[in-house]
Symmetry: C2
Subunit: 245 residues, 2 copies
């Protein structure tokens, strides 16, 4: 309602109408904001898992380190995202989470989510919907990693970030900040940083996009989308059942 609504309330409001008590419940999830620094780990694999985290400022990613020393980035989180839903059913973290930028997070224990389930039918559904949406994101990532060429992988990741940023930022432009190193892009896509470099050079030569420092400029967004065979269904969260009630 007011200007200073929390990030998560703004985020969830577009799924369904929230009652005042719903908003109060959500507000209680963000009681203790905590500043975190770029490069700081929120937790590591195998840490005990008993809390979630809302990301109210900054970027983060979850990852798994492999035996051979390589790292797989699983998910990239933007402000408004809830981190750690994955581990609700587990005792230990299945992946680490690291801040990409300086930011602000709010922890809340699993117990608090149970209260939400107990007290708000609407929020129960929204959280369930969020979880199923994260499944959809993971699914798309899986397809991207398993079936596409390096060019397609890179184009897909960049275009997905472009769309996701448009949802949260009012008027995102074709030029946006993507604070991931080429090493990190490689870690997310199962490619080496060397190959990321070559691929980005290729895109520049082909007039598709320009990558400079931490910035991306899409010269031809449609061409990027088609290069990636991008099908954005998985980002269009209809949430029919709730609005349809």
């Amino acid at each position: 309602m007011s200007e200073n609504d929390s990030c998560i309330i703004r985020h969830l409001r577009h799924y369904a109408d929230l009652s005042d008590s719903d908003e109060a419940l959500l507000d209680s999830l963000e009681r203790e904001p905590r500043e975190v620094e770029r490069g700081e780990a929120l937790w590591q694999t195998d840490d005990p898992a008993g809390r979630f985290c809302t990301l109210s400022k900054g970027w983060a990613y979850s990852f798994r380190d492999m035996e051979d020393g390589s790292r797989q980035i699983l998910e990239i989180y933007l402000p408004g995202d809830i981190i750690g839903l994955r581990e609700f059913a587990f005792q230990e973290r299945l992946a680490g989470v690291m801040m990409i930028d300086d930011g602000v997070v709010c922890d809340f224990p699993h117990r608090r989510l149970l209260e939400v389930f107990r007290e708000s039918f609407t929020l129960s559904m929204i959280f369930f919907a969020l979880s199923s949406q994260q499944q959809a994101l993971l699914t798309e990532r899986l397809v991207n990693l398993a079936r596409r060429s390096a060019r397609q992988k890179v184009a897909h990741l960049i275009y997905e970030m472009y769309l996701r940023l448009q949802r949260t930022m009012p008027y995102a432009t074709r030029r946006f900040r993507l604070p991931l190193s080429q090493q990190q892009l490689g870690d997310a896509l199962g490619l080496t940083s060397v190959h990321i470099s070559r691929t980005l050079s290729g895109f520049r030569e082909d007039g598709l996009l320009i990558r400079e420092r931490q910035w991306v400029e899409l010269l031809d967004p449609d061409a990027v989308a088609s290069e990636a065979e991008f099908a954005g269904r998985y980002l269009r969260d209809g949430l029919g059942p709730i609005s349809g009630e």
Copy 2:
């Protein structure tokens, strides 16, 4: 309680104690069992999505067909699994689902899940936990596809199926039926059927496992697990929050 409990009740009961009314609710999800044939599609990508499906008999898989004609298998479902949780937040199917064997499924509309949310706190949590578990499965699959060699991918899939079967079947043995063709194994792992064939031959030569027809025999399960760098955390669903309440 009784012998003829539905598959899903048996499946969910090991997450938490279910009250009689919980069981009645669950029972209502399996009101209309339907026989389906091997090779039959439960639905296709882009079909309207408004229902879930419990698989009470047979195997199934979800998949995405790519523009180049290849197919990515996303998830393999065993009896007791719920199919379609992924699309709760969406209007359309994000993936098709196909029966591997003849089997029996029970459809129920999203609406019915909302009733569950409204009426049972315990079941709300269990369903949320199921969703987060499916996320964990997907995550593991993603890591498998992005970071591992062909040998590791195949070993990992086979070992995962071995463990998952042990959970449902009372005493699964080292020899079990895996009703997937080499083509389908390839579709699941992002490999060609040709390479699956070579990889399986390699395993046989190395004395790790024997694949014959639809059967797998693990000659040395530990060696298979270690070849796959298998870390089974993601299958050990502690579900602390619920039992801890």
